[in-house]
């Protein structure tokens, strides 16, 4: 690993002031540190944001669950409030990586990184999340731009993620057997007016499957999407799963999620 400068920011303002084109925020470090170690990324400055108190913690109101960006996966999975308000969100957190990763990795880091097979982005889409940054509020639908790409500007810091509490929801992941990231993960959330079917792992970026959403908004039953033939042409294909297999898994996992709601 190449040498770098370590900074610990005391508030959001200082953190974003320290940021440059050759810096990264250090939240859980679960993505940043391994990529530096393997020489895939080098930074001149790492700006630790774990000491910014405001960034950690969970608040539940009647309509929403607000989770601070530096809140660890384990805190989300263990939170009684989250379990009560959106049980599928806490079980999603419980299914990320392994205990070591959950004890360090953060929701903000996961979303900022926007790995195409990460779990949280699907929750953001399905639960109509709003991403609060130090500068603005961004709707989830406009936040995830592409593979490892988000709407965040240089130095912009995620402060919290606000999830809308649905009537019912479930997240079903078919994990990569090696890494346990999602080969396909489908987050189904039934809100008052409509149903979201957020899919991660299948394409280069998380997306809301409009056809399934429509079918389920009409009739919230797994039979309404059974046998749906999805277009696999844009789906990922690698040694763990072909595009066709992924297309089939999207439907299967969506059905499972609906049944589990």
């Amino acid at each position: 690993m190449k040498d770098f400068n370590y900074h610990s920011a005391k508030d959001s303002k200082e953190a974003s002031k320290l940021a440059s084109s050759s810096s990264a925020f250090l939240a859980g470090g679960m993505t940043t540190i391994p990529s530096m170690k393997l020489g895939l990324a080098t930074y001149k400055d790492l700006i630790d944001i774990k000491n910014i108190k405001k960034l950690s913690g969970i608040k539940v109101s009647g309509k929403s669950v607000i989770i601070g960006a530096a809140t660890k996966h384990v805190e989300v999975s263990n939170s009684k409030d989250v379990k009560k308000a959106i049980p599928s969100l806490s079980s999603l957190a419980e299914g990320i990586g392994d205990p070591q990763v959950r004890n360090r990795g953060t929701i903000g880091g996961s979303i900022a990184n926007n790995d195409p097979s990460a779990d949280y982005p699907s929750a953001c889409i399905a639960l109509n999340a709003t991403i609060h940054t130090n500068e603005r509020k961004i709707e989830a639908a406009k936040f995830f731009k592409g593979m490892f790409e988000t709407a965040l500007k240089k130095g912009e810091l995620i402060e919290a993620i606000e999830f809308q509490i649905p009537e019912k929801s479930s997240y079903q992941k078919h994990p990569n057997p090696a890494s346990r990231y999602a080969i396909v993960g489908v987050y189904v959330a039934k809100h008052k007016g409509d149903v979201n079917v957020a899919v991660t792992g299948a394409k280069s970026c998380v997306y809301n499957d409009k056809d399934m959403s429509k079918a389920l908004t009409g009739n919230f039953s797994s039979s309404s999407i059974d046998g749906m033939d999805l277009d696999s042409s844009e789906m990922n294909s690698d040694m763990h799963a072909s595009a066709d297999f992924r297309a089939s898994l999207v439907v299967t996992q969506a059905k499972k999620a609906v049944d589990a709601c």
Binding site: P177, A178, Y181, H240, F245, T252
Partner: protein, 792 residues
């Protein structure tokens, strides 16, 4: 005194390991040490046009940079294949040179071309990036099946063929097949695996200019063998000037048998720069450069009568050696594989033909089971297929072809001294509730799932390798083992063993054996291994040999101690040696109350002479001291055997295979410590099930390893497994005094066919290759649905 052999004695080594006090090679730091980083080929096959170290030499902290040229100039030898194999046509096998640092050609991704030695690890890394190598990239050969049609990798080795070996009688097999009612045939791929020991390889080399001695601390399963190879073939230093220490070693599974490039280079370089050098592999280096396992492509056939008697068997295998033939590379797919090919069955005619090929991939060598898993997989998949095609219950068909009497002289090589295969089968069926399976299958079907059951009956040849047996087969060496039992004057015992523990619990089990033999409390016995300066020459640990060979050497040395003790006691107590009996640590003159404890005898042995009442206790001809050595060369292999049964449930929509039940009923002969055996069985099963369902080393066509990290190489985890249902039958080995057979590899041997037979049973007989990943199984489920629809 109660016997310790057979009881669940807690592991003596656990306190050390569980409190972080283990001392592994990477824990060793020497004064003024330097750090090594190896510059490795990023290409699978290339010639080196130019290598420029000028820039790197100027990098900060660099002490030295050495390349293939210097190592060749110093006449340091290369890595070797330990076993010579002769082809069917009588020609000797063909092995390429394998210099520790490549000079002209590189042959797999990770092949080292230079070593950078610097004051710190960071500086070594930085400088290594500045070494400029100009490669001419050549077309790589990566496929096992097609290797013989690829470009020639090593000059003069036609068709990339190391040898084309035959065991058995083709003519007899032909006659058997001519008589058959039916021939069952199968095409099999035994997937390539990466051993993945928890501790990556490492070494620390030191040179003492005063004594002109090199000391190498290394992650080895066999330090003496490493010293011998480095000395005799590597020309690193004469054996008496080379000390090899393998301290705590965190798992080997065969991958740490070999002497590796880094061992030789660091030892040689430490002398050259007159400073200690430390090298610790990163996990990604382990993936690329540790030996890999398995990688066979096989076509096999079984000739049967319509009522299910086996008549003949043939096995045509292509075995991938990787880029070079290493220590056990050539013996694994031959003598460890061929003789086990007919499994636990009476098959009057059989042959195994193995073509061993070179490819531009990491060297393939012995990995837990080594040859026997590949043999067992083939015969057990074939027998399962036969049971489907003949419509005979899979357990009945097996029993029908089991030997009825022991010793069982097999058609190919082995004479199995003892066993009771029927008893093992019956017990396994009971443990697994074989009868209740159909009901469970229906329950699964009602949930929309597919359920399958799979059986394997296996045997293995352990305790490698009796010199008489293997040398008569044409092997150059046999593998005995040594032990030295040394009493201190005050009565504690140190046992030196030539075997090596890297997870096998020798500190406990060997102490149990010695405690029983000598009647000394187990706390007073130390087991010492892993240092060529401490113990007598030893062969190390692999092939489930430690107990069946190394343990017997300990017993024999203890028996010599007792014999001397009897003579000394007789002298001390003025009795006849023949009248002295030894029991529970006491020498007793029969029909008298005169006795001496073994502690008193030991003390006396160290203080011979005459003073006051004390008279020399040493009989004429005996020397002072109490220390005995044994070199034990077994008369035959030992033959553990057993039956395993697995049940899987498959979700046809996702292809997910859930291992619901796993039953292992093994006959390991006498068991020294049931807890330790359970650990060995569990570990073996985890690796065997890993091969069947998860693990796969995959190269792309250019020779890049696609599964070079845990993000892509699926190491099984605890939650992949059900609670294992483990039981035993027991027939004692008749060829050694303890009656032991060995248990280290059984799980890895039996589990792959057991699990795959269950998966394929669930899939209505459709073949899938290992590992049975979700996508492969999903596809098979779709086919099954289609063919069921057609049938309906």
């Amino acid at each position: 005194m109660a016997s310790l052999v057979g009881s669940r004695v807690e592991r003596k080594e656990d306190k050390r390991f569980l409190t972080g006090k283990g001392r592994y090679t990477a824990d060793i730091n020497l004064a003024n040490q330097t750090y090594a980083i190896f510059v490795r080929s990023p290409h699978a096959r290339a010639s080196i046009k130019k290598l420029n170290i000028d820039k790197a030499l100027k990098s900060s902290g660099v002490v030295s940079i050495l390349t293939g040229k210097e190592i060749a100039d110093d006449k340091i030898g290369g890595l070797i294949a330990g076993w010579a194999i002769r082809s069917e046509d009588g020609t000797e096998m063909k092995c390429p040179g394998n210099p520790p640092l490549a000079k002209d050609n590189v042959n797999f991704v990770g092949d080292p071309v230079a070593v950078v030695i610097a004051e710190s690890l960071a500086e070594a890394k930085e400088a290594a990036e500045k070494v400029e190598v100009d490669y001419k990239v050549l077309k790589a050969v990566t496929s096992t099946a097609d290797a013989m049609n690829g470009d020639t990798i090593h000059e003069g080795i036609d068709k990339n063929l190391c040898f084309d070996w035959l065991l058995g009688d083709r003519q007899k097999v032909k006659e058997a097949f001519d008589k058959a009612d039916k021939v069952i045939s199968i095409d099999i791929i035994n997937n390539r695996l990466i051993p993945n020991a928890m501790e990556p390889r490492a070494c620390v080399a030191d040179y003492n200019a005063a004594s002109e001695e090199i000391t190498l601390y290394t992650t080895s399963q066999n330090p003496h063998l490493s010293r011998l190879i480095m000395s005799a073939f590597g020309n690193v230093a004469p054996e008496h000037k080379l000390r090899v220490v393998a301290p705590d070693v965190g798992g080997g599974f065969g991958s740490k048998i070999n002497v590796y490039n880094e061992d030789i280079v660091c030892s040689w370089a430490a002398k050259k720069i007159n400073r200690a050098i430390k090298w610790v592999a990163e996990r990604s280096e382990s993936f690329l450069t540790d030996i890999h396992g398995r990688d066979h492509v096989t076509h096999a056939e079984l000739a049967v009568t319509k009522d299910g008697k086996f008549l003949g068997f043939k096995n045509e295998t292509i075995a991938n050696l990787g880029a070079y033939a290493r220590v056990f590379g050539t013996v694994t797919p031959t003598y460890l594989f061929g003789p086990c090919a007919t499994g636990v069955y009476e098959i009057p005619a059989a042959y195994t033909n193995v073509k061993a090929v070179y490819t531009n991939t990491a060297p393939v060598d012995a990995y837990r089971g080594a040859g026997r898993p590949e043999a067992t997989y083939t015969i057990e998949r074939l027998v399962e297929k036969a049971s489907m095609e003949l419509g005979i219950d899979k357990t009945e068909l097996r029993i029908k072809n089991f030997p009825t009497a022991f010793p069982f002289k097999q058609t190919l090589v082995h004479t199995v001294d003892s066993g009771d295969y029927v008893a093992g089968m019956e017990k396994a069926k009971q443990m697994a509730d074989y009868k209740g399976f159909e009901a469970r299958r229906k329950e699964s079907e009602a949930k929309g799932k597919l359920r399958g059951i799979g059986v394997t009956s296996y045997f293995e040849a352990c305790g490698i390798a009796p010199s008489a047996a293997v040398m008569s087969l044409g092997c150059g060496v046999g593998l005995w083992e040594s032990a030295e039992v040394r009493f201190n004057p005050t009565g504690q015992v140190t046992v030196y063993t030539g075997s090596h523990s890297h997870g096998q619990s020798h500190q406990t089990t060997f102490a149990q054996i010695a405690a029983d033999e000598l009647g000394v409390p187990i706390e007073n016995i130390d087991i010492v291994h892993g240092d060529t300066d401490k113990g007598t020459f030893g062969m190390g640990t692999y092939g489930s040999r430690s107990l069946a060979v190394g343990g017997i050497a300990i017993v024999n040395a203890c028996k010599k101690i007792v014999e001397k003790g009897k003579r000394v006691t007789a002298k001390m107590l003025e009795a006849n040696p023949e009248d002295v009996e030894f029991k529970d640590g006491e020498f007793i003159v029969s029909k008298s109350n005169k006795k001496k404890t073994i502690g008193e005898v030991a003390f006396a042995c160290y203080l011979p002479g005459v003073r006051d009442e004390m008279k020399s206790p040493l009989p004429e001809g005996d020397e002072p001291g109490l220390k005995e050595t044994s070199f034990y060369d077994p008369s035959n292999f030992s033959f553990p055997a057993g039956t395993h049964i697995a049940e899987v449930e498959i979700d046809p929509e996702t292809g997910h295979v859930k291992l619901e039940k796993y039953t292992a009923c093994d006959d390991f002969g006498r068991i020294i410590n049931p807890m330790v055996v359970e650990g060995q069985v569990h570990g073996g099963l985890a690796q065997g099930i890993g091969q069947a369902l998860y693990e796969n080393a995959e190269y792309d066509e250019t020779g890049q390893l696609m599964t070079g990290s845990y993000m892509d190489y699926t190491m099984p985890r605890a939650d992949n497994f059900p609670e294992f249902n483990i039981g035993y039958t027991c027939t004692h080995a008749t060829t050694n005094p303890l009656g032991v057979k060995g248990c280290g590899e059984a799980g890895a041997i039996a589990a792959p066919p057991t699990v795959m037979n269950a998966v394929i049973d669930a899939l209505g007989g459709q073949e899938v290759t290992m590992p049975a990943t979700a996508e492969k199984v999903w596809k098979a489920c779709k086919n099954l649905k289609k063919s069921n629809a057609k049938a309906a």
